[in-house]
């Protein structure tokens, strides 16, 4: 049995003149919890649709759960970004229908739908029509539809969309549980701090190309921290000028963020700050996924505009 849940090998896809996915290769080990990120129109959905064999690549090959993607369809759960529910269908019936489509027997689909409705605190909506539900409830029903058949591979596109914090936490817990059961989870979102909290590994795709594929730890190591957070003691002030600091900004709690020049050693700057006056705290801020995302996407845009080629960052 292969250790890969998904393997893409030089996958390429065009729609007319649009080159949606360009020579993408990656490997997702079984049991991973992976964030699949990218700006709008980057090629995420096309890649996901190819993984699910909704569409096929022009070139390259895709292996899903050790075989053909088509054969693995019943072992994949997919939560699309936009809610896809039959408005007039009753919730329970909809879930059983999806279960049947995913190869479950009538009884198994019934039992599983009922169990998950209980788990998601939706016991009372079984007989309600989908159109009668709130946006958050619809999202939860659709989430159940994606996991009802206990798939080995789960692909969630914006799973927390429309959920209040309590329900978001409930879904977060369930995703962690599913991961703990050894299922592979690919998680696509624009809310990067959620991906940062949940995912072990991040892939970033932009304009059809994979521009980042690394663990969170690796990303934080790779992307040099360029911001120092400092909180002077009451009454103390920072020096008006600090070598190596490009700009500074006030934080809400009265501290400062110091944004450093390129190629400046942050530890030297921290040393200078401490020497200049008493501080309550000082720390080197680790790069967030937002920082990395903006940096990479902006740099690629800049690269395209200038017609120059920056070194690749794909690991």
């Amino acid at each position: 049995m292969s250790d890969s849940s998904i393997r893409l090998d030089h996958v390429d896809k065009r729609f007319g003149s649009v080159h949606a996915v360009q020579d993408v290769s990656f490997d997702v080990p079984r049991g991973s919890l992976l964030g699949f990120l990218g700006p709008n129109g980057a090629g995420k959905s096309t890649t996901i649709r190819m993984i699910m064999s909704i569409i096929y690549p022009d070139h390259g090959s895709i292996s899903v759960l050790g075989g053909s993607a088509l054969a693995a369809k019943n072992r994949i759960g997919y939560l699309p970004e936009e809610r896809g529910l039959y408005r007039k269908m009753r919730v329970g019936e909809f879930l059983r229908y999806i279960g049947r489509l995913k190869g479950m027997s009538r009884n198994d689909a019934r039992t599983s739908a009922s169990t998950w409705l209980d788990r998601m605190e939706l016991q009372s909506v079984d007989r309600k029509r989908c159109e009668e539900l709130s946006k958050g409830m619809q999202q939860k029903v659709q989430f159940i539809a994606s996991i009802i058949h206990e798939p080995d591979l789960l692909i969630f596109d914006e799973p927390f969309s429309g959920l209040d914090p309590v329900n978001a936490e409930l879904m977060n817990t369930i995703i962690r549980e599913l991961h703990a059961q050894g299922r592979t989870i690919i998680f696509s979102t624009h809310v990067l701090h959620q991906a940062e909290q949940l995912c072990e590994r991040i892939m970033l795709i932009d304009r059809g190309r994979l521009i980042l594929d690394d663990t969170m730890e690796g990303i934080q190591k790779t992307f040099d921290p360029r911001t120092i957070e400092v909180e002077p003691l009451e009454g103390a002030e920072l020096p008006a000028h600090l070598d190596g600091v490009q700009e500074r900004s006030r934080t809400r709690d009265g501290g400062w963020e110091l944004h450093l020049d390129e190629h400046v050693d942050p530890h030297r700057v921290m040393h200078r700050v401490v020497e200049a006056g008493p501080v309550r705290s000082i720390r080197l801020r680790r790069p967030t996924l937002d920082d990395v995302f903006v940096m990479l996407v902006r740099d690629r845009l800049h690269e395209t505009e200038l017609g120059i080629s920056l070194p690749g960052v794909t690991t």
């Binding site: 007319g16 909704i54 369809k73 997919y78 699309p80 896809g84 999806i98 489509l101 539809a145």
Partner: protein
């Protein structure tokens, strides 16, 4: 196949087991036949009696004749007489229904109650008479010329003027017109020294009682109108059954796209499975419509003792060409439904196809009158038209269609079904993922060629 079955069932359930379908396609047809009998009663005119005086200027003989005719009992208006003549060739059951006193005697109810006085006038009194007509003192004043009463009047001479009061109903006017025309003709005949009543009896065209000899012995009354109507009835049956379901297929596909549920379905089943499930599901809906309307038609023929007008092979052809027509229409509707995001866009794509498919409706009479004519033969080999034209041909009462032509139409038609379904699958596969502007027909061709 295990994925197609639930899709088929859902498609069928959410179309056929809905209140709208049950009422529209099952309950309404069941009530159509009783309504056909009851409606004439409901719509039968309840006319006011025609009372008053008619002044005729120019001929005392016509005055006398009109007065005599006006005092005939049960004189019918022209419309009532036309209906009575039309009924002569109808089956007894329809005749009985039309004149059943329990149903309000719908045909004869157009008979008019009247109390009409006819007076002579002079041309000098015309203006005064016109004023009396305006004042509703007279029903009408009529001016006859001498030329009108000649034995052989020219076209220009064979007319007269009549001034009627405002608000005279069409039925009253119809009655007065007939009364005057009959009176003028009778006076002409009398002037020629002939007996009008005898002559009218001689001039009455004989009716033909056609009897059809049945294959197994026996004979039944042949009704020409029924033989003319059977081809178009069969074609409309196929048309209604296929287009009703085709339309459902179109709207449910568009709905699944606009609801974004298609994305969920595609994660569970292939586009081919979804399309197949939907088309098969709607095929059952279409069959219900076919059996419902077809069954009622057959029951009606049995009630009229005309069941032998539809031999068994005609039913077999109906089923074969219905299947062919359904899959052709379904492939068009599923393709368009998958390619667009709303019904408005769908109309612009379906329009050209509908123009072609409506041709058999326009060509119904020439094809059914001459089922082996060049027009019929040529159009029955043009794929989208095959089932509709062939059902007209095989049910027409003229020369039987050669078997080899039926065989070619069947082979070519079902080959076209395979090609159309293949093209539909290609378009469906791409179309269901597309959102936004509707594609042009040329883009659809491009989609067929996508890998």
């Amino acid at each position: 196949m295990n994925r197609i079955t639930p899709i088929t069932w859902r498609e069928f359930k959410y179309t056929a087991l809905t209140k709208a379908f049950i009422i529209g396609s099952i309950i309404v047809p069941i009530f159509i036949f009783p309504l056909l009998i009851v409606l004439p009663v409901l719509f039968a005119p309840r006319l006011d009696p025609l009372q008053g005086t008619l002044v005729i200027i120019g001929s005392d003989a016509v005055v006398q004749q009109a007065s005599d005719l006006a005092h005939e009992e049960q004189r019918k208006s022209g419309t009532a007489r036309q209906l009575e003549e039309a009924l002569l060739d109808m089956p007894d059951s329809i005749k009985n229904a039309a004149s059943d006193p329990m149903l309000g005697n719908p045909m004869t109810s157009s008979e008019l109650e009247y109390d009409l006085q006819v007076e002579a006038g002079t041309i000098a009194e015309l203006d005064a008479c016109k004023q009396r007509v305006r004042d509703h003192d007279l029903i009408a004043v009529v001016v006859l010329t001498d030329e009108l009463l000649k034995a052989e009047p020219t076209r220009e001479q064979n007319q007269f003027e009549m001034f009627v009061r405002p608000g005279l109903s069409p039925s009253h006017l119809d009655f007065v017109n007939d009364l005057l025309a009959d009176s003028v003709v009778e006076v002409r005949v009398q002037h020629s020294g002939m007996n009008y009543a005898a002559m009218r009896a001689m001039m009455r065209r004989p009716g033909v009682i056609t009897k059809r000899l049945q294959e197994g012995g026996g004979e039944v009354r042949e009704y020409e109108w029924a033989k003319r109507l059977i081809p178009i009835a069969f074609m409309i049956l196929v048309w209604i059954a296929t287009f009703t379901s085709g339309n459902y297929l179109l709207t449910t596909t568009i709905e699944e796209k606009s609801n974004k549920v298609m994305e969920v379905l595609l994660s569970a089943a292939s586009p081919m499975e979804i399309m197949s499930g939907k088309i098969i599901g709607q095929a059952f809906v279409s069959l219900i419509t076919l059996f419902m309307y077809g069954g009622l038609g057959i029951i009606a023929l049995i009630a009229l003792s005309q069941a032998d007008l539809i031999p068994l092979e005609m039913i077999v052809y109906l089923l074969l060409f219905f299947i062919m027509a359904y899959f052709m229409i379904a492939s068009i509707m599923a393709s368009v439904g998958s390619a667009v995001s709303d019904l408005h866009d769908a109309q612009s794509l379906i329009g050209p196809a509908m123009i072609v498919l409506i041709l058999p409706m326009i060509l119904w009479i020439p094809i059914s009158e001459s089922p082996n004519g060049s027009l019929a033969v040529v159009t029955s080999y043009i794929p989208p038209l095959i089932p509709f034209v062939m059902i007209l041909r095989v049910t027409a009462s003229g020369d039987p269609v050669p078997l080899w032509q039926i065989a070619i139409a069947l082979v070519e038609g079902f080959a076209a079904v395979v090609v159309m379904m293949w093209m539909c699958a290609r378009i469906f596969r791409v179309g269901v993922l597309m959102q936004g502007k509707a594609p042009s027909p040329f883009q659809l061709i491009k989609w067929i060629r996508y890998r």
